[in-house]
């Protein structure tokens, strides 16, 4: 339980700084520190158990199916890292309180820091590799926020993104590796995985898993060739650098290698990958550090180098090397964090981090200088400090290592690495603290406040104590940690200053002497280095990212060029292709056996008309009015086809819809250009023609294939039940309002929505560009002076009652004969629209006074309520009923609930058509710049006086 709390505390506590910042910076820092301290205390409480070799674990089921559970365990390794994370974290929190300026949003800083802290603790305590992955990625995210904390600095932003990219990529690779590992073992629980060394190393998937996991480790721990992001992350505030980039996050990779050491190490693959990468990193990092003038840059590359050292040790795969690695982790954490904090103090006090601008600080800030010097000497591996101890162990291990039959290579390179390390450490000491005092520091340096130097001082004390009394101070921790790493019996080792004269001592002395010599010649070397062209990691990274983004843009922008013509042609080609691939997936295609109907004369005539009209549409489509007329003919022929093929309802509907469509299109065409420009190239026309022909062939072929074969349909039931169950003889209508009334319910809603959407679309025409365009509209064509010809007015007056009669007839007979609410609705709408057309909008609108919105709504409600009436009666929605009523004189007639439904259809259709057309005509009036008429005709000869509209 307390184990869980240790992990959760930083996360829970992360809300505190955000809240407490209003109470002041001290309160905020105190709250943050308290959280960390509490976690540290909880950890310390576990110490006795851990040191006695116990493994404390806790488990909560989370996603058991996947194998992702909240399981934590605390062994020596976890204890070491958790202590480092929380302990150094606490120091950093204190340090940061003084480091950050008043302008820096401190609350935010502490929030990010605690999130990061929690994630790190999570990594080191997870007993489930999926859970570990979660925390792993969380460190990438929180470090991204921390590195970019000073968001006004471009270096910070870029560094943050680079770190996120590299460590994120590694993390993703590791996900794959972990999943493979989990699958080899059959469990994602670390404690199970750690028991299955043989199984894992025998698996054919061992190498991929190893490589993928190592990718995660190497990126996180900045190992060659992924080391380049770390120096750029140094743009972060120094507390961040000290915490993330020396003490904790970069050690996550190291931690994982240590954690996985029992199951992954010991193979040649492990050795050659890990040890080689570590070795290269160690030497190269140290070499680069030597020439860094930026204090934090120097420390950053030194960190890279030291991480390489530890990696190399783990890579050796021997228990002894592992112990050395563990010990160096502890030592490095102490001196490097102290050094970072010292660098921060120098930066803070002098205003610069450039070694070239520093020197002589010993006199100005003796306390800080002392701390820095001791820590740096430890880094150099000078006795009797702790860095010396672990470096000796490293050199000894290197001495005993053979690399591809070369027994001198590793010792030599290790010595050179140590040599460089000595050189840059002494450079730090000499060029910063010693030498003459300068008078051109950007600020006036003096020792910082206690709160700022106390944390590094504490660490430096540890550096000395461990150096002097390693077995007492660090012995138990090293033992218990190493035991956890090795997972078996500890080798015979001694933590002591003096191991006698051995190769390591010789290598060490050589390194120190060589290092000092190197420092002596540093100036010349440095300028030589500057003249050498070196690959700049950041520039390369930027170029790579820019190239990738560029390539992405090339692909994405060219593909998504906004051309509907392309999108449509792709879609149509895809449809034809997928249909054909399905059709031809089978080798043999049986021809249909259904009898073919004979061709008759009317059918042949219709066919000729259709074909000619279609061809004419294609060839004359630039003239839009012709195009419309011709497509109207096509509609007429299709309607005739419906008549011919026993579908009178379809013919009725098609014809009615056709007229409304024509009216609609004419309304639009009045505003739109009357001609389409000829802008297609011949090749384009040819291509489109080809696509169109293939689509046509496909569709025609498919329909031919269907029509020539027999089938059985569920519609026999509809024919049988139409009258018995639905009370209607028109089976199509009964299907529409009864069997499949739900379709119709949706269908009228589509119509209603279309009208509402059209209304909304045109409603906005009075604003913005459209309104300007309409206000300046020039009516191009010659216009007749006769707005409302007398004859048409009179004729439509006569027609209105007739058309309504027809509408009523079509509505009422629909259930038994062709017709129904939809067609009736269109008939009535067209009759009404005819009034608008003949007598003008103003006059007709004043007389109609219908609420079309309400009509649509009422229609939907009527249909819905008819359906719900059945529900009230205990039947499913839309269950119909019908019966026969006998009235005197009138006789017997049928009443069906479906008529209520059909009434809804009728109302919706009338409302929708009228709303859409009447609203659309508003645009025309705006463009036409004419008065709305109040009289039905321009001049009424029956009236004695001239019409009032003319006088106005």
């Amino acid at each position: 339980m307390s184990l869980t709390l240790i992990v959760l505390l930083p996360f829970i506590g992360a809300v505190l700084p955000a809240i407490m910042i209003r109470a002041g910076r001290n309160a905020c820092a105190t709250a943050t520190g308290s959280v960390t301290l509490l976690a540290l205390i909880l950890l310390a409480v576990q110490a006795p158990a851990v040191f006695s070799g116990e493994v404390i674990s806790v488990r909560y089921d989370w996603l058991t199916g996947l194998g992702l559970n909240v399981t934590f365990f605390l062994d020596g390794l976890g204890f070491l890292f958790a202590s480092l994370i929380l302990g150094i974290g606490l120091l950093i929190i204190i340090y940061a309180r003084f480091y950050l300026s008043k302008d820096d949003p401190m609350g935010r800083f502490y929030v990010f820091l605690l999130l990061f802290q929690g994630a790190m603790v999570g990594i080191v305590l997870s007993d489930n590799i999926l859970l570990l992955l979660i925390f792993w990625e969380l460190t990438s995210l929180s470090s991204f926020l921390l590195i970019g904390y000073w968001k006004h600095l471009p270096e910070g932003r870029q560094g943050a993104r680079m770190a996120l990219t590299v460590t994120g990529a590694g993390g993703l690779a590791m996900i794959a590796g972990m999943l493979i590992l989990g699958n080899i073992v059959g469990s994602y629980d670390l404690s199970v995985i750690l028991q299955n060394t043989d199984l894992i190393q025998a698996s054919p998937l061992y190498v991929p898993a190893l490589i993928l996991i190592l990718l995660g480790c190497f990126t996180k721990s900045a190992q060659f060739p992924f080391h380049f992001w770390l120096p750029h992350a140094m743009a972060a505030p120094t507390p961040v650098s000290a915490y993330l980039h020396s003490a904790t996050m970069v050690k996550a990779g190291i931690f994982l290698m240590a954690r996985m050491w029992p199951v992954l190490s010991g193979t040649p693959e492990w050795f050659y990958i890990v040890a080689t990468a570590g070795l290269i990193t160690m030497v190269m990092g140290a070499w680069i550090a030597l020439f860094k003038d930026d204090l934090k840059g120097l420390l950053a590359y030194s960190t890279v180098s030291h991480l390489g050292l530890v990696t190399m040790l783990f890579g050796f795969g021997t228990p002894m090397a592992a112990v050395a690695g563990v010990f160096h982790i502890i030592n490095h954490a102490t001196f490097k964090a102290a050094l970072f904090m010292t660098a921060g103090i120098i930066d803070h006090e002098t205003g610069t981090r450039s070694i070239r601008r520093l020197g002589g600080l010993m006199h100005l800030m003796p306390v800080a200088a002392t701390i820095g010097i001791v820590a740096a000497l430890s880094m150099a591996g000078v006795a009797p400090l702790n860095g010396f101890l672990s470096k000796e162990m490293m050199l000894q291990e290197a001495w005993e290592t053979t690399w591809f039959d070369l027994n001198w290579l590793v010792p030599l390179l290790a010595t050179i690495g140590a040599l460089f390390s000595v050189a840059y450490s002494f450079r730090f000491v000499v060029h910063v603290f010693f030498g003459p005092r300068r008078d051109d520091y950007p600020a006036h340096p003096h020792d910082p406040p206690f709160g700022m130097w106390a944390p590094p001082a504490f660490l430096v004390v540890l550096v000395v104590l461990i150096g002097l009394f390693p077995a007492v101070v660090a012995g138990p921790l090293v033992a218990v940690t190493s035991a956890a790493v090795i997972g078996g019996a500890l080798p015979d080792y001694h933590l002591a200053l003096w191991h006698g004269v051995n190769p390591a001592l010789g290598m060490s002395i050589a390194a120190i002497i060589g290092g000092l010599l190197l420092l002596w010649r540093h100036g010349g070397l440095s300028s030589a280095m500057e003249n050498m062209s070196r690959p700049d990691a950041k520039a390369m990274f930027d170029i790579v990212i820019a190239r990738i983004v560029g390539l992405s843009r090339l692909i994405s922008d060219n593909l998504h060029d906004g051309s509907l013509q392309r999108y449509l042609s792709v879609m149509i080609v895809a449809a034809v292709a997928i249909g054909a691939s399905g059709f031809y997936a089978q080798a043999d295609h049986l021809a249909g056996t259904r009898a073919i109907l004979p061709v008759t004369l009317p059918a042949l005539i219709g066919w000729v008309l259709l074909v000619v009209s279609c061809i004419a549409v294609v060839f004359t489509h630039h003239n839009r009015l012709y195009c419309l007329l011709l497509s109207g003919v096509v509609g007429l022929i299709v309607s005739l086809g419906f008549v011919y093929f026993s579908a009178p309802d379809l013919a009725l509907t098609q014809i009615s819809v056709e007229v409304v469509t024509v009216i609609l299109m004419l309304l639009a065409l009045n505003i739109l250009p009357k001609e389409s420009p000829k802008e297609s190239t011949t090749s384009r026309k040819f291509r489109d023609g080809l696509i169109a022909s293939i689509a046509g062939l496909g569709m025609g072929g498919a329909v031919w294939a269907v029509m020539t074969r027999d089938y059985a349909s569920i519609s026999d039931y509809h024919l049988a039940q139409s009258y018995v169950g639905g009370g209607g003889n028109n089976v199509v209508n009964v299907i529409l309002v009864d069997f499949r009334g739900f379709d119709t319910f949706g269908e009228i809603i589509v119509l209603g929505i279309a009208a509402l959407a059209i209304f909304a679309l045109i409603e906005t025409v009075t604003q913005g560009e459209a309104a300007k365009r309409l206000a300046g509209w020039v009516v191009q064509a010659r216009r007749s002076k006769d707005r409302h010809p007398l004859m048409t007015v009179v004729a439509t007056r006569v027609m209105l009652p007739l058309a309504l009669m027809v509408g009523a007839y079509i509505f009422l007979r629909g259930h038994g004969e062709p017709g129904g609410g939809f067609i009736a609705g269109l008939v009535v709408s067209i009759a009404l629209i005819m009034q608008y057309m003949a007598s003008g909008f103003g006059w007709a609108q004043n007389r109609l006074k219908a609420n079309y919105h309400g009509m649509i709504a009422l229609g939907v409600l009527a249909a819905g309520i008819t359906g719900l009436a059945a529900v009230v009666g205990g039947f499913p929605f839309l269950t119909s009923d019908y019966g026969y009523v006998t009235w005197p004189i009138v006789g017997t007639f049928e009443l069906a609930s479906a008529m209520g439904f059909d009434l809804g259809v009728f109302l919706t259709v009338v409302g929708a058509v009228m709303l859409a057309l009447a609203k659309l005509s508003q645009v025309e009036r705006m463009a036409g710049h004419v008065e709305i008429n109040v009289e039905p005709m321009d001049h009424d000869p029956s009236a004695a006086a001239p019409s009032p509209s003319k006088e106005a």
Binding site: R161, L179, D743, A757, L761
Partner: protein, 534 residues
Amino acid sequence: MGHWMIVPIVLPAIMAALIVLAVRHDIVLQRVFSIAATVAMVAVAVALVVYASGHGPEMYALGAWPAPFGIVLVLDRLSAMMVLLTSVLGLGVVVYASSQWDKRGKHFHALFQFQLMGINGAFLTGDVFNLFVFFEVLLIASYGLMLHGAGAERLKAGVQYVVVNLTGSALFLIGVGLIYGVTGTLNMADLAVKVPLVTEGDQALLRAGALILLLVFAVKAALVPIHFWLPGTYANAPAPVAALFAIMTKVGAYSILRVYSLAFGEGAGDMAWLAAPYLMPAALVTLALGMTGVLAAKRLNGLIAFAVIGSMGTLLIAISLFTPDAMSAGLYYLLHSTFAGAALFLIGDLIMARRGEQGDHLRTAPGFHQSGLLAVLFFGAAIAMAGMPPLSGFVGKLLILDAARESDLAVWIWSVILVTSLMCIVGFGRAGSVLFWKSASVEGQIETGETEWPVLPIVAAGGMVAAMVALTVFAAPIVGYLDATAAQIFDTSGYIGAVLGPDAVTASDGLSISEMTGVEAETDTSEAAAGSGQ
């Protein structure tokens, strides 16, 4: 289940009609009606999910006509869950829109309710042609909503959206027509029974029809190469509408998994798993291309739109594996990606509203009001979309990766998913850096008048992020529900039995599915048939 199944469809329809009839001139009352209806829908949907998790599939025979002759609704775990997802998302969207978006044009709330009706109908229907009708309802409502408030860019994108979908509708009819022309039925369960019985000579036509239908669903699901409509549409739709559209792509995905596991799944004889060979490559390319678009984006809305495309790729990778594990993982990812996409669009809108003329252009500009809070929300939604922990995207991706390991294409699937995750991280990292960090190095602050704390929008957007947190925290019960859902999807006999009665199950060949999935049919089919309201 009584008549409750019909509520998610009829309630919004009636409500939309009432809004148009009674309160179309009063925006406040419209909001009250609309939000109240959506809250009620959430409540009903919760009840449906609870019910579905305790019972097998159930049928509701509209008009009391027996299947396959009438239209039936089918409530099972899957459809109930989708309805709940729609309702919850809808609630967030309507709350967001009620702050002011709904005033920018007419009939927002009516169109919105109709849209919900269409989506719910598509999820609940058990009839292929009725599915077409609901597709059209949800599409035309989406046209209205997408064009809400007009504006040149939006109108241009709207034309493309509408035309592409009209073409899609035509293809839908062709596909359904061919299926009917061969099998003589429209009912999905009946189709499942009849597909394996189709004689060899007729199979080619059926296959062609089914694949054209697949293409239509893939258009809705924004699968490459028919995804082209999505970037422009989503990027130019009003934010709440774009957020609601997050579920529209899921309608496509849902239809694919429903139809091609029920009627063209294990029991389909020669046509078993018809869709898989087409879907998988397309899904992989979709994911890759989506995330390429994320990297390439120069505007925030484009970035989000492409991320949505990518997430559809991920989802369809899972679906096209057609295994119970992958299906469960896919459904989890479906839930997650719906909220992630919606959250991003809402947050993007809040950012855009405060950036004035800079809009959603990803270029250096001065800071803006409330950028701190928006940064937090953006960061949360972005890591969710990228599949980074601790939000549900990570869990979803892990589930999918884990489920894909048995596949022949496992290496491809893993590589594409992981590499594209990195692309997504980089893309969102760049965007966030430009929006929230770079502004710090620019003098001044953008003043747009948007200085008030947008309470309702923040609640809505925050709610989406919170939903993802909930998905993560309650992953176990949710995945448990989804595992059973996946089992139910693969146990087609349960569905068929519920719709057509137990006799139909024995008539069909698709019996061995429960053996394959290792899950017993939970359904007492006779009880289900009895309770269908007949």
